[in-house]
């Protein structure tokens, strides 16, 4: 097996036994990147020189006996994470040449443990999208079928892992942006409970929904990365002061007695046939492991997409106001005055989808509409959250599909934004409720595209879904399948 195909835990074992060096592993990743990038376009920036320097430093640490699970491991970050001294664009023209003066806390935690940054990953611009098609740096391709989307907005992260261009990646999830691309690219993606991981240094899209999470080959790696990035951050007022458990202790291939809820609103007639097949097989697998299934209802599911597209866009319209050309980022070169400068800089710098959402959000907050839209959406959100909390009184986890269909073709939905929005229907409610959920490989469609299943846990109940996911993974081995590039 090639070095770039190893998981974190496999590579760590080799590093620890000095069978391989971090420099060797990093070089292997960089070579893989050079080889497949022309086809995949997962990276916006590759940091080859810095990566090799960091790998050398990691090897010195390892030689001195200082080795942690992440020391010397090549990782890549969605270009939404601020990396000090390394260009961070958020896939936008408006930040095309932006070099941040500080590191995101979550990246800093990985860096301090000796992780190696190999590059910054493509995404939908400002995390607004479900297909990675709205990047100013071109679309990323799905490694399983280059004519299909990898998913979004963390499309680069998922494609990178799917194509084995790095050992692990970080993404962000606001409405499904880790889980959906993970599902489409055959890897594991986790959205932790809101507040579990610091948002400091992550370019904000929707502040009350954004969360940082791992995109990895398998559930073990997911637990490792989550353990490394989770925890209270005094720089993030919304991060929670709650001790971080050892998530690896949940890696027990046991699902006996686990009560899993099946929400009737998610298993609608007309579900894509391949998705239904995969879900049925998953239910059978879990049953075989001794899990019990309970039909539950999440009655306000139908309102989730509408509520999300009001709340997220409202917060985004405000979060993106700072991109005004005054202090950093793109500033229009020909402007007749102040207002002209604001308008031209933003018109030139933002892509179409970003503009669309800023306008929607501004409208939802505007005088005369605030009560009917933004406020109402927040009230609906509370009801959706209560749906989940009530369900968790009787079940330990909830099983659903991740996406209504496998990955669609590039260009298929770009002319109909609403159609695109509706594809988030299974992932959005989790963000509104603020709880945790994981996407785990659960099948391959008839046309060779991966299909993931979603396991939703109660707030701060990551250990339960890690255990359930691990049990499923070990019993089915879907995570061992790989794209042929």
């Amino acid at each position: 097996m090639e070095l770039y195909e190893l998981t974190i835990h496999e590579l760590h074992g080799r590093l620890r036994k000095r069978e391989v060096s971090s420099v060797e592993a990093t070089k292997a990743c960089l070579a893989r990147i050079a080889s497949v990038e022309p086809r995949i376009n997962a990276f916006i920036t590759v940091t080859a020189d810095e990566a090799l320097q960091a790998a050398e430093a990691a090897d010195r640490r390892i030689a001195a006996g200082e080795i942690d699970l992440l020391t010397g491991i090549p990782v890549a970050l969605k270009d939404i994470f601020l990396t000090k001294g390394v260009r961070t664009t958020c896939a936008s023209r408006i930040l095309q040449d932006y070099i941040p003066p500080y590191d995101a806390t979550s990246w800093l935690k990985l860096k301090e443990r000796g992780a190696i940054l190999v590059g910054k990953l493509n995404q939908d611009e400002f995390a607004m999208g479900s297909s990675c098609e709205s990047s100013a740096f071109g679309a990323t391709k799905n490694p399983w079928n280059l004519e299909c989307i990898p998913g979004g907005s963390s499309g680069g992260s998922a494609a990178c892992i799917g194509a084995r261009e790095a050992t692990a990646a970080l993404g962000t999830d606001t409405g499904g942006s880790i889980r959906q691309p993970a599902s489409h690219c055959g890897c594991v993606g986790l959205k932790p409970t809101y507040g579990r991981v610091s948002r400091y240094g992550v370019i904000a899209y929707a502040s009350s929904l954004d969360q940082v999470g791992p995109v990895t080959r398998d559930v073990t790696d997911c637990a490792i990365v989550l353990g490394a990035v989770a925890g209270h951050d005094p720089r993030d007022s919304t991060s929670v002061e709650r001790p971080v458990p050892d998530y690896r202790a949940a890696l027990i291939p046991e699902a006996r007695g686990l009560k899993i809820g099946l929400p009737r609103e998610y298993f609608i007639p007309g579900l894509d046939r391949d998705v239904k097949t995969a879900m049925d097989a998953a239910i059978a697998a879990f049953s075989g492991l001794g899990a019990e299934f309970v039909e539950i209802s999440l009655p306000h599911t139908d309102y989730a997409v509408a509520a999300y597209y009001l709340i997220a866009t409202a917060e985004a319209s405000s979060n993106l106001a700072r991109y005004d050309g005054v202090r950093f980022g793109h500033r229009a070169s020909e402007a007749a005055g102040l207002i002209d400068m604001f308008m031209k800089s933003r018109a030139e710098g933002f892509g179409t989808e970003v503009k669309r959402r800023i306008m929607l959000g501004t409208y939802a907050l505007s005088s005369g509409y605030y009560d009917a839209y933004y406020l109402k959406a927040q009230k609906v959100r509370t009801l959706i959250m209560h749906d989940f909390l009530k369900a968790f009184e009787t079940v330990d986890a909830i099983l659903t599909p991740v996406a209504p269909t496998p990955a669609f073709r590039i260009g298929e939905k770009t002319s109909d934004p609403l159609q695109m929005y509706l594809s988030d229907i299974f992932t959005i409610p989790v963000n509104l409720a603020g709880t945790c959920a994981m996407s785990v490989p659960a099948g391959i469609s008839g046309s060779g595209l991966p299909i993931g299943l979603q396991l939703i846990g109660r707030p701060f109940g990551e250990e339960t879904i890690i255990r359930a996911a691990y049990a499923f993974e070990q019993a089915t081995e879907w995570h061992k399948r790989k794209a042929h590039l």
Partner: protein, 479 residues
């Protein structure tokens, strides 16, 4: 038709915390541009606000001092608009749920005592500063200095209860005194620590419907506030009488002309699209915390003034002067704590001490004569060691040299002469040398007495005890 002005005031109080409201940058005034900034107050991508607890404590102090209710739960909200001095494109403020509500202040004047309602007090961050000239490298452009961005402010909003420019000034002065007394603001209006916006309208006397109001922004002295409001009232009355209509708009005061003028085109009606800031959690304030702050409050000026009159027996004028600043009051109180002769201490503090401070441009906090030393000096007068007049000389020397009063008296040989024998001898000498004036006095010219007193005092180099001199001189002159 007779019109009545209606005025409401919004005051922005810059808080005296060491660091900004949402980040750890210094709030010190006067640093080089953009030298006190960080990703948070620069509004860089990915930065997040973290609330400064001291700011909340100061807000609670202000609320308690103005009789407001302190909200057990208050929320920060974003006020969205674009301007170069507003780095995030929104200001973090408070909207629907401010920290303080429903307070009041009492103002005294020719109207007697009047209660002015305070609608609310809320916390917010300040914007940066725009610089339009005199900055190297700017050329024709404007520069943005973000040192001030994110400085903590309290916005104090009054009810429209004020009915004249004088009432408005009285309210402002009262509020100013209170925030300085509380130690939450330095009150420096030139540096922008205390900024006032006035909402002015007029309505026919007897009407119950307020007229359209105009807002006069950023007037930075009490004198200008009075001028601006008076001008605006007249302008609006004239407009009404000519059949015109007052437009709701923002106006600026021009001190040179004494007029207000419209900021037409600069401030269109803004829809700020307020919504609760999702980067901050709701602020929960416990009763215990409020009580702790209440216990830590200094005695406020109104109470102090009343106590000086009722318990110490000082006249209203003295009470007002001595309580004008907390530091002066504390000086006075330290002195009477060891020398409980209230009126003499009051006279000396209002007199010699204040004169010397003004002459040397010093603040009472760095007064070279500490209150205990002043007490020593007054004790010497009391004991008859020196006269009141000599004491002033001693005081000046204490101020310059920092020495103790008794040491100065001894060094300069200023001990008062009260020995009757000694004084009689001097009087005899003076009378012998001025027999003409003795005759005049005995002839009925009583005014000549002053001449003899002067002569005796001069001969004794001011040291003769004046009471003894008067008594003996009167006896000897009358024969």
């Amino acid at each position: 038709m007779k019109y009545q002005p209606v005025i409401g005031l919004e005051v922005h109080v810059q808080l005296l915390t060491n660091t900004k409201i949402f980040c750890g940058c210094s709030t010190r005034f006067g640093a080089p541009p953009n030298s006190q900034t960080c990703p948070v107050c620069l509004g860089l991508p990915g930065a997040l606000p973290v609330l400064n607890k001291k700011v909340v404590e100061y807000a609670i102090r202000a609320g308690l001092a103005t009789n407001c209710g302190i909200a057990p739960r208050s929320v920060f909200a974003r006020k969205n608009y674009f301007y170069p001095d507003l780095p995030k494109g929104y200001q973090i403020s408070q909207y629907e749920l401010p920290i303080c509500q429903n307070g009041h202040l009492d103002i005294e004047g020719e109207w007697g005592t009047k209660r002015i309602g305070i609608t609310r007090i809320h916390m917010e961050e300040d914007a940066g500063k725009l610089v339009h000239a005199d900055v190297p490298g700017l050329g024709n452009g404007s520069g943005v200095d973000l040192n001030r961005a994110c400085t903590p402010l309290l916005e104090v909003v009054s009810e429209p209860d004020l009915r004249s420019a004088d009432e408005a000034v009285a309210y402002l002065k009262k509020l100013h005194q209170i925030v300085v007394y509380l130690g939450i603001c330095d009150g420096n209006m030139e540096e922008g620590s205390f900024r006032c916006d006035a909402n002015v309208s007029v309505m026919p006397v007897g009407s119950d419907r307020f007229g359209t109001r105009a807002e006069i922004k950023n007037v930075n002295s009490f004198r200008f506030v009075k001028q601006a409001i008076e001008y605006e009232i007249e302008r609006q009355i004239d407009l009404n009488e000519e059949g015109g209509k007052v437009i709701q708009e923002t106006r600026l005061f021009d001190p040179a002309s004494g007029m207000t003028r419209s900021m037409r085109g600069k401030e269109e009606a803004h829809d700020y699209r307020y919504f609760p800031d999702p980067d901050l959690v709701p602020l929960i304030i416990s009763n215990d915390w409020v009580e702790d702050v209440r216990l830590s409050l200094p005695e406020l000026p109104d109470l102090k003034m009343r106590r000086y009159q009722e318990e110490l027996g000082l006249p209203p004028y003295d009470a007002e002067v001595l309580t004008a600043s907390r530091e002066l009051a504390e000086y006075f109180e330290s002195c009477i704590a060891v020398y409980p002769q209230v009126k003499p201490v009051a006279n000396w503090v209002m007199g010699e001490v204040t004169r010397a401070l003004n002459d040397t441009g010093l603040a009472i906090t760095v007064c070279p004569v500490p209150p205990l030393r002043l007490a020593d000096l007054l004790a010497l007068i009391d004991k008859g060691v020196i006269s009141g007049k000599i004491a002033k000389t001693v005081f000046d020397e204490m101020w310059k040299s920092g020495k103790e009063p008794m040491a100065i008296v001894e060094e300069q040989g200023l001990v008062q002469v009260s020995d009757t024998g000694e004084i009689e001898a001097i009087i005899d000498g003076i009378m012998a040398a001025n027999q003409g004036q003795v005759a005049e006095f005995r002839g009925g010219k009583e005014k000549v007495f002053g001449f003899f007193v002067g002569q005796v005092m001069r001969a004794s180099r001011g040291k003769a005890n004046p009471a003894v001199v008067n008594e003996l001189l009167m006896k000897k002159l009358k024969g």
